[in-house]
Point group: C2
Chain length 237, copies 2
């Protein structure tokens, strides 16, 4: 269970696949800023260095389940949005031996979860994506690739909602896109575009305790989107 201690090193258990690891790219949103979750090596030659949280796959464990378990160890949260990015397998990528890693990326509602701080990997911390430290092995490459993939995917599929709380305002949604894509968007036009897609449902509630006019709160319903997508509907921001 404590595969995270390995931080993608050689498999610590006899019942794990020795030459394959999993690394997770976990994105979160905090006050309109996009963050990524990093873990710090606790000891060994790489002590103090930062890495993507990772682990190994049980011999009888499905790949997706392994990723989910590893992520739960780090965030304490289940049922997160989690998808495979791809495998990274340069022969020399890991100095401790030949290990191919399969990268996953996750989107989490950052404010809803408290990190299991001080867990097995001495420290786990959110970093602004513009300000990540140097990462071990090829983790920098994985991060760059994952961020690019996120930017592409968020424009073509409604996955961004996984970063927001259940109920959100249109401005929060707009700031999410501005933050991920690194652009600024026109408010009236963004509103219309979203509303015309008929994917947002008015909660009939307003923000509370704000120092300005309270905004309407909306929900996104994944099942309605799935039904629309069946008929060829295409989500494009």
């Amino acid at each position: 269970m404590d595969d995270i201690t390995s931080l993608s090193g050689p498999a610590p258990q006899i019942n794990s696949l020795p030459d394959i690891s999993i690394d997770c790219l976990v994105f979160g949103l905090d006050n309109g800023r996009l963050n990524v979750l990093l873990a710090q090596h606790r000891d060994g030659i790489r002590q103090g260095q930062w890495a993507l949280p990772g682990g190994h796959i049980g011999a009888l464990e499905d790949l997706d389940n392994a990723a989910s378990r590893i992520l739960q160890d780090v965030t304490g949260a289940q049922d997160l949005f989690l998808e495979q990015l791809r495998a990274f397998g340069r022969a020399d990528r890991f100095p401790g031996g030949r290990v191919i890693t399969i990268a996953y990326y996750a989107l989490v509602k950052q404010e809803e979860y408290k990190l299991a701080a001080g867990g097995p990997a001495s420290q786990v911390k959110w970093w602004d994506i513009h300000d990540v430290p140097e990462l071990v092995y090829d983790h920098g490459e994985i991060f760059a690739h994952g961020l690019k993939s996120l930017r592409h995917k968020v424009r073509h599929e409604p996955i961004g909602f996984n970063l927001l709380p259940e109920k959100f305002t249109l401005l929060q949604l707009q700031e999410l896109y501005e933050s991920i894509l690194g652009v600024s968007l026109d408010k009236p036009n963004f509103r219309r575009k979203m509303m015309n897609m008929k994917l947002l449902f008015d909660c009939n509630e307003k923000q509370q305790n704000v120092a300005h006019r309270a905004a309407a709160l909306y929900r996104f319903d994944q099942s309605v989107y799935s039904a629309l997508a069946e008929q060829g509907f295409s989500f494009e921001v």
Copy 2:
């Protein structure tokens, strides 16, 4: 080198990673029909069954290089368009033991290459994508996933050209999209769309020996596209 004989079974060589394989989804275009390349098991319990061509990764071999080598064994061709799809790793996907496979997809100019028929895997054959036989293990799932990915990608990146000969007509290009996407397109509008992108270069040549007005031949220049993409240009069909 003859990893293809294994068709993704357990690693036959001492110097291959035992619990990881590579499977290749090779697409080709023939007279406007989209095909996929399949290999037939030569012997063993699965004799006669069809599978994606695959193999194992050398202990000192980069992942991408391994895929390229395996593909060369099958098609005899180098420098094909080849990209990773993703890893497939259900615990029970391969009955002979725990093997995670990393799927690649390739696009080839079908008419330019003759297959190494009667090679190590008794037979290698093109199949119309609408008519593929039942495949071994989870290869059907990999095929379905790869086709979906191809349909998505071809609309957002100019990769379709890899299926056409160097010089092609606009109708060939249109038929390519119609075939991959399974739709029919308006000729005048398709022409304009393509020409407006400024990605096609007139060869100043015409078709030869056709029983109708000869069409102009065009080329696609990957380097010009790359330069445009740098500036934020987006290819959308």
